[in-house]
Amino acid sequence: MRPNALTPASIPTRRAFSERMAEYGAIDGDFVVFEADIGYSTFSHLFGDRFPERYFNMGIAEGNMVSAAAGMAADGRTVVASTYGVFITLRALESVRTFVCYPDLNVKFLSSHGGFTPAIDGVTHQATEDIANMTTLPNMKVLVPADTWAAKKLFDVALQTPGPVFVRLMRDPILDLYEAGDAFRMGGSHVLLEGSDVTIATYGDIVFEAIGAAGILAKEGIRAEVIDLYSVKPFDAETLLRSLDKTGALVVAENHQKRNGLGYELSNFCLKNKVVPFDNLGLEDTFAESGSYGKLLEKYGLSRDHIAAAAKRLLKRG
């Protein structure tokens, strides 16, 4: 991990995940990939180019894609179903719930365009309720890589974990943080920066804003601990509690609706286990809009300045 020496990412997490999927196709000859006509956007075509007989393009019909994936998985096959998050988690939600999660089948979801990372595409293509829908489903596990290496490692974790796994990916490259050797596991997390005054818990693209916020806070003598909860469900409660024992304050920031996101989950967890001053940042009961990603971060309260301000409010130093 190099939180103090971030480098620009050359590829988005959607591509990193698919690159690893194509590599892994040679390691594991059994799993197959279903796509819904956006294989050149999700980059699932990288797998299809190498393993055409294991690649099924189901056309623009996500409900059928997921139910057919369930049928194949019911007969023992592991299937990666690939499309954008809005379509998996909304249009095909019933297929995901009733035919994948209920029978607890080995279907993994390559879910691109998470949060408003497809900023310029507008609200129709922004999956800002996906975490709520997916974490609510019994048997579903939810992973969100922040960068290239994390995306590659989390492909392996998803494939090797029994049952349904949802992996939220991003449209555009942001920064790279992790290094070869950094390990990832279901239910794991990474403490990116250690601190003693406030814990900032986040996942995916907002990891980089959280690191930026810690830099702003450091200049004012506030030491923030930044945790990448890349495993959103199950989340790493042990690491979170250990951090809160030190800091006694929690800010959760996520590219998602505030309602029923990780912030809601952790506030509930803290009420039951460790009551600390708390705030969460995300979309405040609103849709986003088209525009540059940076502008949206500012407008919808997820930029590093917003996160730092929230931390200072908690510590009554704002």
Partner: protein, 284 residues
């Protein structure tokens, strides 16, 4: 392994055997709905002859090994008709007949709609419109593994209102899923009334044909026709096959026949007695 039928019998003998079986299936499924005080008799009775033909003649399945990899698959996409499926599975020995008395009850293996955990059930079904997609997935899996099993899917004619069914229909044709055989139980009634009033589907066979399927249209209560048509459908290569079976909702129980009210209604004691008499004949 499989069917209870001796393949050397003539078609007439097989059909006669199945017609007797179908009587028992009908009586047991009405009885289980009566005992459960809940369930869907109309669509179970309309599908009874085909499901009986499948389980007692056509399907290669092994009750002692329900997940036998080479078995034929059957998906009751119109899952609310599950009493007919549960009855056939119990009569074939996938589980004891005593379970039929536990339909829809707490902790029963026989849930309100089929689930994959029940012995002999290949996949969870019953929220309408998904079964053909699931069957397609299973057929593609069979192709990938080089297996020779068939996947049979029973759809309702109300169910095919769901656009999802037609997504599966076009994909099955694309992938030349020729071991996928769909039945449409064309009883012409859906929950709120006549299909033609609620949502007219017109010429169902023509619709499947237009999607690239080989289609057949039959009397879904004529055992000889059912057997003969399934044999033909099994020989189709290069595309999936659809058998549109014209049926009567509530078939075999006169006061239920062609009455949409009996889609999801349970008979009382007098109605049960009357049903048994009709199913078994006045003399029994």
């Amino acid at each position: 392994m499989a069917s209870t039928q001796d393949r050397n019998r003539t078609l007439d003998e097989r059909a006669a055997f199945l017609s007797e079986k179908a009587r028992e299936v009908r009586s047991r499924l009405v009885d289980m709905i009566y005992k459960a005080k809940s369930g869907h008799p109309g669509g179970a009775l309309s599908a009874a002859d085909i499901v009986t033909a499948l389980y007692f003649d056509i399907l290669r399945v092994d009750p002692a090994n329900p997940r036998w990899p080479d078995r034929d698959r059957f998906l009751l996409s119109k899952g609310h008709a599950c009493p007919v499926l549960y009855t056939c599975l119990a009569m074939r020995g996938f589980f004891g007949l005593e379970h039929l008395d536990t339909l829809r009850q707490f902790e029963s293996i026989l849930q309100g709609h089929p689930i994959r955990k029940t012995p002999g059930i290949d996949m969870t079904t019953g929220s309408l419109g998904h079964g053909l997609s699931i069957g397609l997935g299973m057929a593609l899996e069979g192709k990938l593994r080089g297996k020779r099993y068939h996947v049979y899917v029973m759809l309702g004619d109300g169910e095919i209102n769901e656009g999802h069914v037609w997504e599966a229909a076009m994909a099955a044709a694309k992938f030349k899923a020729d071991r996928l055989i769909a039945f449409v139980d064309r009883n012409r009634l859906q929950m709120d009334g006549c299909c033609d009033d609620i949502m007219p589907m017109g010429d169902v066979a023509a619709k499947f044909k237009a999607f690239g399927w080989k289609t057949f249209e039959i009397d879904g209560h004529d055992m000889k026709t059912i057997l003969g048509t399934i044999e033909k459908a099994r020989r189709v290569r290069g595309r999936p096959a659809c058998i549109v079976a014209n049926t009567v909702k509530g078939k075999g129980v006169s006061y239920m026949e062609d009455r949409f009210e009996w889609h999801g209604k349970c008979p009382n004691a007098d109605e049960l007695a009357c049903a048994m008499k009709e199913i078994w004949g006045e003399d029994s």
